[in-house]
Protein backbone atom coordinates (compact mmCIF):
# COMPACT_ATOMS: atom_id res chain seq x y z
CA UNK A 1 0.00 0.00 0.00
CA UNK A 2 2.83 2.32 0.89
CA UNK A 3 4.51 1.66 -2.48
CA UNK A 4 1.23 2.44 -4.20
CA UNK A 5 0.95 5.79 -2.48
CA UNK A 6 4.56 6.55 -3.36
CA UNK A 7 3.76 5.85 -7.00
CA UNK A 8 0.79 8.16 -6.93
CA UNK A 9 2.77 10.98 -5.37
CA UNK A 10 5.63 10.55 -7.85
CA UNK A 11 3.24 10.42 -10.81
CA UNK A 12 1.36 13.50 -9.64
CA UNK A 13 4.57 15.42 -9.00
CA UNK A 14 6.03 14.57 -12.39
CA UNK A 15 2.86 15.36 -14.36
CA UNK A 16 2.37 18.61 -12.47
CA UNK A 17 6.00 19.64 -13.03
CA UNK A 18 5.91 19.06 -16.78
CA UNK A 19 2.53 20.82 -17.01
CA UNK A 20 3.96 23.76 -15.07
CA UNK A 21 7.03 23.96 -17.30
CA UNK A 22 4.69 23.99 -20.31
CA UNK A 23 2.36 26.64 -18.95
CA UNK A 24 4.84 29.04 -17.30
CA UNK A 25 6.32 30.49 -20.52
CA UNK A 26 2.83 31.01 -21.94
CA UNK A 27 1.62 32.63 -18.71
CA UNK A 28 4.73 34.77 -18.59
CA UNK A 29 4.22 36.20 -22.07
CA UNK A 30 0.57 36.81 -21.20
CA UNK A 31 1.66 38.77 -18.12
CA UNK A 32 4.15 40.74 -20.20
CA UNK A 33 1.41 41.72 -22.65
CA UNK A 34 -0.63 43.39 -19.87
CA UNK A 35 2.11 45.86 -18.92
CA UNK A 36 2.14 49.47 -20.09
CA UNK A 37 3.56 49.83 -23.57
CA UNK A 38 7.34 50.25 -23.58
CA UNK A 39 7.51 49.39 -19.86
CA UNK A 40 10.92 48.07 -18.80
CA UNK A 41 9.82 44.68 -17.53
CA UNK A 42 12.24 42.23 -15.92
CA UNK A 43 11.73 38.56 -15.21
CA UNK A 44 8.37 37.74 -13.67
CA UNK A 45 7.41 41.39 -12.92
CA UNK A 46 3.64 41.71 -12.62
CA UNK A 47 1.78 44.70 -14.06
CA UNK A 48 0.27 47.09 -11.44
CA UNK A 49 -3.08 46.53 -13.17
CA UNK A 50 -3.95 44.96 -16.53
CA UNK A 51 -3.20 47.45 -19.31
CA UNK A 52 -4.79 47.00 -22.70
CA UNK A 53 -3.11 49.89 -24.56
CA UNK A 54 -0.61 47.59 -26.20
CA UNK A 55 -3.42 45.48 -27.61
CA UNK A 56 -5.05 48.60 -28.97
CA UNK A 57 -1.74 49.77 -30.45
CA UNK A 58 -1.02 46.42 -32.05
CA UNK A 59 -4.57 46.28 -33.40
CA UNK A 60 -4.53 49.75 -34.98
CA UNK A 61 -1.05 51.30 -35.30
CA UNK A 62 0.74 48.02 -36.00
CA UNK A 63 -2.10 47.00 -38.33
CA UNK A 64 -3.00 43.70 -36.71
CA UNK A 65 -6.66 44.35 -37.52
CA UNK A 66 -5.68 44.02 -41.19
CA UNK A 67 -3.43 41.00 -40.62
CA UNK A 68 -6.02 39.13 -38.57
CA UNK A 69 -8.72 39.87 -41.14
CA UNK A 70 -6.46 38.57 -43.91
CA UNK A 71 -5.91 35.38 -41.92
CA UNK A 72 -9.64 34.98 -41.35
CA UNK A 73 -10.36 35.30 -45.08
CA UNK A 74 -7.62 32.87 -46.10
CA UNK A 75 -8.49 30.32 -43.40
CA UNK A 76 -12.21 30.32 -44.10
CA UNK A 77 -11.65 29.89 -47.82
CA UNK A 78 -9.11 27.10 -47.28
CA UNK A 79 -11.15 25.29 -44.62
CA UNK A 80 -14.44 25.28 -46.54
CA UNK A 81 -12.91 24.26 -49.87
CA UNK A 82 -10.53 21.63 -48.50
CA UNK A 83 -13.24 19.97 -46.41
CA UNK A 84 -15.69 19.82 -49.32
CA UNK A 85 -13.06 18.56 -51.79
CA UNK A 86 -11.70 16.02 -49.28
CA UNK A 87 -15.15 14.61 -48.48
CA UNK A 88 -15.80 14.09 -52.20
CA UNK A 89 -12.49 12.38 -52.96
CA UNK A 90 -12.39 10.45 -49.66
CA UNK A 91 -15.84 9.11 -50.54
CA UNK A 92 -14.61 7.80 -53.89
CA UNK A 93 -11.43 6.27 -52.45
CA UNK A 94 -13.26 4.80 -49.47
CA UNK A 95 -16.34 3.25 -51.07
CA UNK A 96 -15.72 2.80 -54.80
CA UNK A 97 -13.46 0.52 -56.75
CA UNK A 98 -12.01 1.97 -59.91
CA UNK A 99 -9.03 1.51 -62.17
CA UNK A 100 -5.90 3.21 -60.83
CA UNK A 101 -7.37 3.97 -57.41
CA UNK A 102 -4.40 2.47 -55.55
CA UNK A 103 -1.81 4.28 -57.62
CA UNK A 104 -3.65 7.59 -57.34
CA UNK A 105 -4.03 7.19 -53.59
CA UNK A 106 -0.32 6.43 -53.22
CA UNK A 107 0.51 9.64 -55.07
CA UNK A 108 -1.56 11.51 -52.48
CA UNK A 109 0.27 9.72 -49.64
CA UNK A 110 3.61 10.66 -51.19
CA UNK A 111 2.43 14.27 -51.34
CA UNK A 112 1.76 14.15 -47.61
CA UNK A 113 5.42 13.52 -46.74
CA UNK A 114 7.08 15.78 -49.31
CA UNK A 115 8.85 18.48 -47.27
CA UNK A 116 7.15 21.71 -48.23
CA UNK A 117 10.49 23.54 -48.24
CA UNK A 118 11.27 21.67 -51.45
CA UNK A 119 8.05 22.81 -53.08
CA UNK A 120 7.86 26.52 -52.29
CA UNK A 121 10.84 27.79 -54.28
CA UNK A 122 9.75 26.51 -57.73
CA UNK A 123 6.17 27.31 -56.78
CA UNK A 124 7.13 30.94 -56.16
CA UNK A 125 8.72 31.31 -59.59
CA UNK A 126 5.84 29.58 -61.39
CA UNK A 127 3.21 31.64 -59.57
CA UNK A 128 5.21 34.78 -60.32
CA UNK A 129 5.09 33.83 -63.99
CA UNK A 130 1.31 33.37 -63.64
CA UNK A 131 1.02 36.80 -61.98
CA UNK A 132 -0.40 35.28 -58.81
CA UNK A 133 2.44 36.09 -56.42
CA UNK A 134 1.54 38.72 -53.84
CA UNK A 135 -2.16 37.82 -53.96
CA UNK A 136 -3.98 35.70 -51.38
CA UNK A 137 -4.41 33.04 -54.07
CA UNK A 138 -0.70 32.28 -53.89
CA UNK A 139 -1.25 31.17 -50.28
CA UNK A 140 -4.74 29.68 -50.60
CA UNK A 141 -4.12 27.37 -53.58
CA UNK A 142 -0.93 25.70 -52.24
CA UNK A 143 -2.57 25.30 -48.81
CA UNK A 144 -5.50 23.60 -50.54
CA UNK A 145 -3.09 21.24 -52.28
CA UNK A 146 -1.45 20.00 -49.07
CA UNK A 147 -4.63 19.93 -46.98
CA UNK A 148 -6.58 18.03 -49.59
CA UNK A 149 -3.96 15.25 -49.54
CA UNK A 150 -4.37 14.78 -45.78
CA UNK A 151 -8.12 15.39 -45.96
CA UNK A 152 -8.66 12.68 -48.56
CA UNK A 153 -6.63 10.24 -46.46
CA UNK A 154 -8.63 11.21 -43.37
CA UNK A 155 -12.12 11.04 -44.93
CA UNK A 156 -11.31 7.80 -46.77
CA UNK A 157 -10.51 6.23 -43.38
CA UNK A 158 -13.98 7.26 -42.13
CA UNK A 159 -15.84 6.04 -45.23
CA UNK A 160 -14.11 2.67 -44.91
CA UNK A 161 -15.65 2.17 -41.46
CA UNK A 162 -19.18 2.49 -42.88
CA UNK A 163 -20.84 -0.95 -43.21
CA UNK A 164 -21.13 -1.72 -46.95
CA UNK A 165 -24.68 -2.99 -46.31
CA UNK A 166 -25.72 0.60 -45.59
CA UNK A 167 -24.47 1.78 -48.97
CA UNK A 168 -25.99 -1.20 -50.76
CA UNK A 169 -29.35 -0.58 -49.10
CA UNK A 170 -29.28 3.04 -50.25
CA UNK A 171 -28.47 1.93 -53.77
CA UNK A 172 -31.33 -0.59 -53.77
CA UNK A 173 -33.63 2.21 -52.68
CA UNK A 174 -32.61 3.98 -55.83
CA UNK A 175 -30.44 6.70 -54.30
CA UNK A 176 -27.74 8.06 -56.57
CA UNK A 177 -24.15 8.22 -55.37
CA UNK A 178 -24.35 11.86 -54.32
CA UNK A 179 -27.65 11.35 -52.48
CA UNK A 180 -26.14 8.38 -50.62
CA UNK A 181 -23.19 10.51 -49.58
CA UNK A 182 -25.29 13.48 -48.50
CA UNK A 183 -28.24 11.74 -46.82
CA UNK A 184 -26.82 8.41 -45.61
CA UNK A 185 -23.08 8.70 -44.99
CA UNK A 186 -22.35 12.28 -43.99
CA UNK A 187 -24.67 12.47 -40.96
CA UNK A 188 -22.67 9.71 -39.26
CA UNK A 189 -19.41 11.29 -40.35
CA UNK A 190 -19.86 14.53 -38.45
CA UNK A 191 -17.07 13.83 -35.91
CA UNK A 192 -14.60 13.01 -38.70
CA UNK A 193 -15.58 16.17 -40.60
CA UNK A 194 -15.35 18.29 -37.45
CA UNK A 195 -11.86 16.98 -36.69
CA UNK A 196 -10.73 17.65 -40.25
CA UNK A 197 -12.19 21.17 -40.03
CA UNK A 198 -10.31 22.11 -36.86
CA UNK A 199 -7.03 20.61 -38.10
CA UNK A 200 -7.20 22.42 -41.44
CA UNK A 201 -8.15 25.63 -39.65
CA UNK A 202 -5.12 25.30 -37.38
CA UNK A 203 -2.74 24.50 -40.25
CA UNK A 204 -3.93 27.36 -42.44
CA UNK A 205 -4.04 29.91 -39.61
CA UNK A 206 -0.55 28.99 -38.35
CA UNK A 207 1.13 28.66 -41.77
CA UNK A 208 4.23 30.82 -41.96
CA UNK A 209 6.60 29.81 -44.77
CA UNK A 210 4.08 30.21 -47.62
CA UNK A 211 2.88 33.74 -46.81
CA UNK A 212 6.46 34.73 -45.95
CA UNK A 213 7.58 33.85 -49.46
CA UNK A 214 4.47 34.73 -51.46
CA UNK A 215 3.24 38.00 -49.91
CA UNK A 216 5.36 41.12 -50.15
CA UNK A 217 2.91 43.96 -49.58
CA UNK A 218 2.02 44.79 -45.99
CA UNK A 219 -1.69 45.01 -46.81
CA UNK A 220 -1.79 41.29 -47.54
CA UNK A 221 0.17 39.96 -44.53
CA UNK A 222 -1.36 37.18 -42.44
CA UNK A 223 -1.41 37.25 -38.62
CA UNK A 224 1.70 35.06 -38.08
CA UNK A 225 3.51 37.15 -40.71
CA UNK A 226 2.61 40.24 -38.68
CA UNK A 227 5.02 39.18 -35.92
CA UNK A 228 8.30 39.62 -37.85
CA UNK A 229 6.79 42.85 -39.27
CA UNK A 230 6.15 44.07 -35.75
CA UNK A 231 9.53 43.09 -34.37
CA UNK A 232 11.49 44.80 -37.16
CA UNK A 233 9.36 47.95 -37.00
CA UNK A 234 9.06 48.34 -33.22
CA UNK A 235 12.11 46.38 -32.14
CA UNK A 236 12.21 47.83 -28.62
CA UNK A 237 8.53 47.33 -27.78
CA UNK A 238 8.58 43.90 -26.16
CA UNK A 239 5.23 44.42 -24.47
CA UNK A 240 3.59 45.24 -27.79
CA UNK A 241 5.14 42.19 -29.44
CA UNK A 242 3.82 40.00 -26.62
CA UNK A 243 0.32 41.41 -27.13
CA UNK A 244 0.56 40.78 -30.86
CA UNK A 245 1.72 37.18 -30.25
CA UNK A 246 -1.20 36.58 -27.88
CA UNK A 247 -3.61 37.85 -30.53
CA UNK A 248 -2.14 35.55 -33.19
CA UNK A 249 -2.41 32.49 -30.92
CA UNK A 250 -5.81 33.28 -29.43
CA UNK A 251 -8.25 32.05 -32.14
CA UNK A 252 -6.68 28.59 -32.27
CA UNK A 253 -6.35 28.31 -28.50
CA UNK A 254 -10.04 29.18 -28.11
CA UNK A 255 -11.05 26.52 -30.64
CA UNK A 256 -8.68 24.06 -28.93
CA UNK A 257 -10.21 24.63 -25.51
CA UNK A 258 -13.71 24.24 -26.95
CA UNK A 259 -13.00 21.19 -29.11
CA UNK A 260 -10.09 19.50 -27.31
CA UNK A 261 -11.18 15.99 -28.19
CA UNK A 262 -11.27 16.69 -31.92
CA UNK A 263 -7.83 18.21 -31.77
CA UNK A 264 -6.13 15.51 -29.73
CA UNK A 265 -7.84 12.65 -31.58
CA UNK A 266 -7.14 14.23 -34.93
CA UNK A 267 -3.49 14.96 -34.28
CA UNK A 268 -2.78 11.56 -32.72
CA UNK A 269 -4.85 9.52 -35.19
CA UNK A 270 -3.72 11.66 -38.09
CA UNK A 271 -0.13 11.05 -37.06
CA UNK A 272 -0.52 7.31 -37.60
CA UNK A 273 -0.85 8.08 -41.32
CA UNK A 274 2.92 8.03 -41.64
Amino acid sequence: MLVRRGNRVATFALLATVALITILPIASVLMLSFHESNAQVRGFDLPDRPHFETYRNAWTTARFSTFMWNSVQISVLVVVSSVVISVLSGYAFGTMRFRGSNALFNVLLFGMIVPYEAVVVPLYHDLKWANLVNTHWSVVLPLLGTNVAFGTYWMRAYFRTVPPALIEAAAIDGAGSFRTLWKVLLPGGRPAVLTLTVLVFMWSWNEFLLPLIMLSSDDLRTAPLGLPYFSTRYSTDRVGLAAAAVMVALPIVVVFVALQRSFVNGITAGAVKE
Partner: protein, 301 residues
Protein backbone atom coordinates in the same frame (compact mmCIF):
# COMPACT_ATOMS: atom_id res chain seq x y z
CA UNK B 1 -5.10 -2.53 -40.55
CA UNK B 2 -6.37 -6.07 -41.10
CA UNK B 3 -9.96 -5.00 -40.44
CA UNK B 4 -9.48 -2.13 -42.84
CA UNK B 5 -8.39 -4.37 -45.71
CA UNK B 6 -11.18 -6.80 -44.92
CA UNK B 7 -13.66 -3.93 -45.16
CA UNK B 8 -12.05 -2.86 -48.40
CA UNK B 9 -12.57 -6.31 -49.90
CA UNK B 10 -16.21 -6.15 -48.91
CA UNK B 11 -16.55 -2.61 -50.22
CA UNK B 12 -19.31 -2.50 -52.82
CA UNK B 13 -18.54 -1.43 -56.32
CA UNK B 14 -22.03 -0.01 -56.66
CA UNK B 15 -21.00 3.43 -57.86
CA UNK B 16 -17.65 2.41 -59.19
CA UNK B 17 -18.74 2.36 -62.79
CA UNK B 18 -17.77 4.70 -65.56
CA UNK B 19 -16.52 8.18 -64.81
CA UNK B 20 -18.34 8.69 -61.49
CA UNK B 21 -15.37 7.96 -59.15
CA UNK B 22 -13.07 10.09 -61.28
CA UNK B 23 -15.48 13.03 -61.06
CA UNK B 24 -15.40 12.76 -57.27
CA UNK B 25 -11.60 12.82 -57.06
CA UNK B 26 -11.12 15.42 -59.82
CA UNK B 27 -11.30 18.56 -57.63
CA UNK B 28 -8.73 17.10 -55.21
CA UNK B 29 -6.24 16.37 -57.97
CA UNK B 30 -6.88 19.76 -59.59
CA UNK B 31 -5.37 21.47 -56.54
CA UNK B 32 -2.99 18.71 -55.45
CA UNK B 33 -1.11 18.08 -58.71
CA UNK B 34 -0.33 21.69 -59.74
CA UNK B 35 0.53 22.90 -56.21
CA UNK B 36 2.36 19.92 -54.69
CA UNK B 37 3.49 17.34 -57.26
CA UNK B 38 4.46 19.61 -60.16
CA UNK B 39 6.50 22.04 -58.02
CA UNK B 40 8.33 19.10 -56.43
CA UNK B 41 9.29 17.80 -59.89
CA UNK B 42 10.27 21.36 -60.85
CA UNK B 43 12.54 21.49 -57.78
CA UNK B 44 14.37 18.40 -59.07
CA UNK B 45 14.67 20.08 -62.47
CA UNK B 46 15.89 23.43 -61.08
CA UNK B 47 18.53 21.69 -58.96
CA UNK B 48 20.46 20.95 -62.18
CA UNK B 49 20.71 24.61 -63.18
CA UNK B 50 22.55 27.66 -62.03
CA UNK B 51 20.01 30.45 -61.86
CA UNK B 52 19.79 33.82 -60.12
CA UNK B 53 16.00 33.88 -60.53
CA UNK B 54 16.03 36.59 -63.22
CA UNK B 55 18.50 35.96 -66.04
CA UNK B 56 18.47 32.88 -68.29
CA UNK B 57 19.51 29.78 -66.40
CA UNK B 58 22.48 27.61 -67.18
CA UNK B 59 22.62 23.80 -67.08
CA UNK B 60 25.27 22.61 -64.61
CA UNK B 61 24.39 18.92 -64.24
CA UNK B 62 25.20 17.68 -60.77
CA UNK B 63 27.31 20.78 -60.08
CA UNK B 64 24.97 22.12 -57.38
CA UNK B 65 25.07 18.78 -55.57
CA UNK B 66 28.87 18.61 -55.84
CA UNK B 67 29.09 22.12 -54.42
CA UNK B 68 26.66 21.22 -51.63
CA UNK B 69 28.90 18.39 -50.44
CA UNK B 70 31.94 20.65 -50.18
CA UNK B 71 30.16 23.80 -48.95
CA UNK B 72 30.99 24.30 -45.25
CA UNK B 73 27.71 26.16 -44.65
CA UNK B 74 25.72 23.19 -45.98
CA UNK B 75 27.67 20.87 -43.70
CA UNK B 76 27.12 23.15 -40.71
CA UNK B 77 23.38 23.30 -41.46
CA UNK B 78 22.96 19.54 -41.61
CA UNK B 79 25.15 18.95 -38.54
CA UNK B 80 23.04 21.51 -36.64
CA UNK B 81 19.87 19.77 -37.84
CA UNK B 82 21.20 16.46 -36.51
CA UNK B 83 21.92 18.09 -33.15
CA UNK B 84 18.34 19.38 -33.11
CA UNK B 85 17.17 15.81 -33.75
CA UNK B 86 18.65 14.80 -30.39
CA UNK B 87 16.62 17.51 -28.63
CA UNK B 88 13.41 17.73 -30.65
CA UNK B 89 13.35 14.16 -31.92
CA UNK B 90 14.54 12.01 -29.04
CA UNK B 91 13.92 13.95 -25.82
CA UNK B 92 10.12 14.36 -26.17
CA UNK B 93 9.74 10.66 -26.97
CA UNK B 94 11.61 9.69 -23.76
CA UNK B 95 9.70 12.17 -21.59
CA UNK B 96 6.45 11.12 -23.25
CA UNK B 97 7.12 7.43 -22.53
CA UNK B 98 7.83 8.04 -18.86
CA UNK B 99 4.84 10.35 -18.35
CA UNK B 100 2.34 8.24 -20.28
CA UNK B 101 3.31 4.96 -18.63
CA UNK B 102 3.32 6.49 -15.15
CA UNK B 103 -0.07 8.12 -15.54
CA UNK B 104 -1.56 4.95 -17.06
CA UNK B 105 -0.63 2.77 -14.06
CA UNK B 106 -2.05 5.01 -11.35
CA UNK B 107 -4.85 7.54 -11.50
CA UNK B 108 -4.00 10.88 -10.00
CA UNK B 109 -6.31 13.86 -9.58
CA UNK B 110 -6.22 16.30 -12.48
CA UNK B 111 -4.25 14.08 -14.85
CA UNK B 112 -6.49 14.87 -17.84
CA UNK B 113 -6.12 18.61 -17.17
CA UNK B 114 -2.35 18.23 -16.92
CA UNK B 115 -2.22 16.40 -20.23
CA UNK B 116 -4.29 19.15 -21.86
CA UNK B 117 -1.82 21.76 -20.63
CA UNK B 118 1.13 19.74 -21.89
CA UNK B 119 -0.59 19.43 -25.27
CA UNK B 120 -1.26 23.17 -25.64
CA UNK B 121 1.97 24.15 -27.50
CA UNK B 122 0.92 21.76 -30.29
CA UNK B 123 -1.73 24.20 -31.47
CA UNK B 124 0.32 27.39 -31.17
CA UNK B 125 2.04 28.79 -34.29
CA UNK B 126 5.81 28.30 -34.44
CA UNK B 127 6.39 32.06 -34.70
CA UNK B 128 4.35 32.67 -31.54
CA UNK B 129 6.41 30.05 -29.72
CA UNK B 130 9.53 31.82 -30.97
CA UNK B 131 8.35 35.22 -29.72
CA UNK B 132 7.39 33.69 -26.37
CA UNK B 133 10.76 32.06 -25.80
CA UNK B 134 12.73 35.04 -27.05
CA UNK B 135 11.26 36.80 -24.01
CA UNK B 136 11.79 33.87 -21.62
CA UNK B 137 15.52 33.60 -22.43
CA UNK B 138 16.13 37.35 -22.90
CA UNK B 139 19.08 38.77 -20.89
CA UNK B 140 16.66 40.22 -18.28
CA UNK B 141 13.89 37.71 -18.98
CA UNK B 142 12.27 35.27 -16.56
CA UNK B 143 14.88 32.52 -16.93
CA UNK B 144 17.92 34.66 -16.11
CA UNK B 145 16.05 36.59 -13.41
CA UNK B 146 15.08 33.29 -11.77
CA UNK B 147 18.69 32.06 -11.90
CA UNK B 148 19.83 35.31 -10.26
CA UNK B 149 17.10 35.12 -7.63
CA UNK B 150 18.19 31.66 -6.48
CA UNK B 151 21.88 32.54 -6.42
CA UNK B 152 22.80 30.87 -9.70
CA UNK B 153 23.38 34.22 -11.41
CA UNK B 154 26.72 33.04 -12.79
CA UNK B 155 24.78 30.72 -15.13
CA UNK B 156 22.68 33.60 -16.52
CA UNK B 157 23.62 34.40 -20.13
CA UNK B 158 22.33 35.76 -23.42
CA UNK B 159 21.10 32.32 -24.40
CA UNK B 160 20.25 33.04 -28.04
CA UNK B 161 23.17 35.43 -28.56
CA UNK B 162 25.86 32.99 -27.47
CA UNK B 163 27.21 30.76 -30.25
CA UNK B 164 27.73 27.83 -27.84
CA UNK B 165 24.28 28.01 -26.26
CA UNK B 166 22.00 29.24 -29.04
CA UNK B 167 21.48 25.84 -30.72
CA UNK B 168 20.85 23.86 -27.51
CA UNK B 169 18.43 26.61 -26.43
CA UNK B 170 16.49 26.23 -29.68
CA UNK B 171 16.59 22.47 -29.16
CA UNK B 172 15.03 22.80 -25.71
CA UNK B 173 12.35 25.13 -27.09
CA UNK B 174 11.55 22.57 -29.78
CA UNK B 175 11.42 19.77 -27.21
CA UNK B 176 9.10 21.91 -25.05
CA UNK B 177 6.77 22.33 -28.04
CA UNK B 178 6.77 18.65 -29.03
CA UNK B 179 6.48 16.75 -25.74
CA UNK B 180 2.68 17.06 -25.61
CA UNK B 181 2.28 15.27 -28.93
CA UNK B 182 4.28 12.27 -27.65
CA UNK B 183 2.40 12.16 -24.34
CA UNK B 184 -0.94 12.15 -26.20
CA UNK B 185 0.19 9.50 -28.69
CA UNK B 186 1.53 7.15 -26.01
CA UNK B 187 -1.35 7.77 -23.65
CA UNK B 188 -3.82 6.69 -26.36
CA UNK B 189 -1.71 3.62 -27.23
CA UNK B 190 -1.21 2.44 -23.64
CA UNK B 191 -4.99 2.22 -23.18
CA UNK B 192 -4.96 -0.47 -25.87
CA UNK B 193 -2.51 -2.78 -24.04
CA UNK B 194 -4.49 -5.69 -22.51
CA UNK B 195 -4.43 -5.54 -18.71
CA UNK B 196 -3.83 -9.31 -18.68
CA UNK B 197 -0.27 -8.77 -19.92
CA UNK B 198 0.51 -6.70 -16.84
CA UNK B 199 -1.16 -9.23 -14.59
CA UNK B 200 0.91 -12.03 -16.14
CA UNK B 201 4.05 -9.99 -15.61
CA UNK B 202 3.07 -9.36 -11.99
CA UNK B 203 2.50 -13.09 -11.44
CA UNK B 204 6.02 -13.67 -12.74
CA UNK B 205 7.20 -11.30 -10.02
CA UNK B 206 7.99 -8.34 -12.28
CA UNK B 207 8.00 -4.93 -10.60
CA UNK B 208 6.96 -1.70 -12.24
CA UNK B 209 10.27 -1.11 -13.95
CA UNK B 210 10.55 -4.71 -15.20
CA UNK B 211 7.00 -4.68 -16.55
CA UNK B 212 7.69 -1.35 -18.27
CA UNK B 213 10.52 -2.98 -20.22
CA UNK B 214 8.79 -6.35 -20.64
CA UNK B 215 5.26 -5.20 -21.50
CA UNK B 216 4.85 -1.46 -22.13
CA UNK B 217 7.88 -0.79 -24.31
CA UNK B 218 7.42 -3.76 -26.70
CA UNK B 219 3.70 -3.02 -27.05
CA UNK B 220 4.46 0.60 -27.95
CA UNK B 221 6.85 -0.24 -30.80
CA UNK B 222 4.45 1.06 -33.45
CA UNK B 223 3.46 4.29 -31.67
CA UNK B 224 7.11 5.00 -30.80
CA UNK B 225 7.99 4.64 -34.49
CA UNK B 226 5.16 7.03 -35.40
CA UNK B 227 6.22 9.57 -32.78
CA UNK B 228 9.89 9.38 -33.78
CA UNK B 229 9.02 9.81 -37.46
CA UNK B 230 7.05 12.97 -36.70
CA UNK B 231 9.53 14.48 -34.23
CA UNK B 232 12.69 13.65 -36.21
CA UNK B 233 11.23 15.00 -39.46
CA UNK B 234 9.98 18.06 -37.57
CA UNK B 235 13.48 18.60 -36.17
CA UNK B 236 15.14 18.27 -39.58
CA UNK B 237 12.65 20.77 -41.03
CA UNK B 238 12.89 23.39 -38.25
CA UNK B 239 12.38 26.80 -39.84
CA UNK B 240 9.74 29.10 -38.30
CA UNK B 241 11.31 28.94 -34.84
CA UNK B 242 14.80 29.81 -36.10
CA UNK B 243 13.55 32.48 -38.50
CA UNK B 244 11.90 34.38 -35.64
CA UNK B 245 14.60 33.83 -32.99
CA UNK B 246 18.13 33.81 -34.49
CA UNK B 247 17.85 33.66 -38.32
CA UNK B 248 20.74 31.21 -38.17
CA UNK B 249 23.04 33.32 -35.98
CA UNK B 250 25.11 34.18 -34.08
CA UNK B 251 27.49 33.55 -36.97
CA UNK B 252 26.24 30.32 -38.47
CA UNK B 253 25.74 28.54 -35.15
CA UNK B 254 22.01 27.92 -35.63
CA UNK B 255 21.96 27.63 -39.42
CA UNK B 256 19.70 24.78 -40.57
CA UNK B 257 18.80 23.44 -44.05
CA UNK B 258 15.43 25.26 -44.11
CA UNK B 259 17.16 28.60 -43.44
CA UNK B 260 19.70 27.87 -46.18
CA UNK B 261 17.00 26.93 -48.72
CA UNK B 262 15.20 30.20 -47.92
CA UNK B 263 18.29 32.41 -48.05
CA UNK B 264 19.72 30.92 -51.25
CA UNK B 265 16.35 31.39 -52.97
CA UNK B 266 15.31 34.78 -51.62
CA UNK B 267 18.27 36.36 -49.82
CA UNK B 268 21.32 38.10 -51.29
CA UNK B 269 23.50 36.19 -53.80
CA UNK B 270 20.50 34.23 -55.00
CA UNK B 271 21.23 30.80 -56.46
CA UNK B 272 17.91 29.05 -56.99
CA UNK B 273 19.64 25.91 -58.28
CA UNK B 274 21.71 25.51 -55.13
CA UNK B 275 18.63 26.16 -52.99
CA UNK B 276 16.71 23.48 -54.91
CA UNK B 277 19.58 20.98 -54.61
CA UNK B 278 19.68 21.44 -50.82
CA UNK B 279 15.89 21.06 -50.74
CA UNK B 280 16.13 17.78 -52.65
CA UNK B 281 18.88 16.53 -50.32
CA UNK B 282 16.67 17.41 -47.34
CA UNK B 283 13.74 15.58 -48.97
CA UNK B 284 15.85 12.46 -49.53
CA UNK B 285 16.93 12.61 -45.89
CA UNK B 286 13.30 12.98 -44.75
CA UNK B 287 12.11 10.06 -46.91
CA UNK B 288 15.04 7.96 -45.69
CA UNK B 289 14.28 8.68 -42.04
CA UNK B 290 10.60 7.85 -42.55
CA UNK B 291 11.45 4.51 -44.21
CA UNK B 292 14.16 3.60 -41.69
CA UNK B 293 12.01 4.28 -38.63
CA UNK B 294 9.11 2.38 -40.18
CA UNK B 295 11.40 -0.63 -40.73
CA UNK B 296 12.56 -0.57 -37.13
CA UNK B 297 8.98 -0.16 -35.91
CA UNK B 298 7.72 -3.14 -37.89
CA UNK B 299 10.43 -5.59 -36.86
CA UNK B 300 9.39 -8.22 -34.32
CA UNK B 301 5.69 -7.46 -34.45
Amino acid sequence: MSTETAAAKRAPAVYGRGVTPYLYILPAFLVFVPFVIVPFLRAIQLSFFEWDGLNPREWVGFGNYRDAFTDPLVQTSFVNAFELVLFIGVMPVCIGLVLASLSASVRVPGDAAFRTMIFLPQVIAGVVIGVTWRWIVAPDGPLNETLRAVGLGRFAKTWLGDSTWALPTIGVIGAWATTGLCVALFHAAIQQIPQSLYEAAAVDGAGRIRSFFAVTLPSLRGPIAVALTLTVIGALRTFDLIFITTRGGPGTSTYVPGMLIYNRAFGTNVNVGSSAAIAILLSILVFGVALLIRRIGERRT
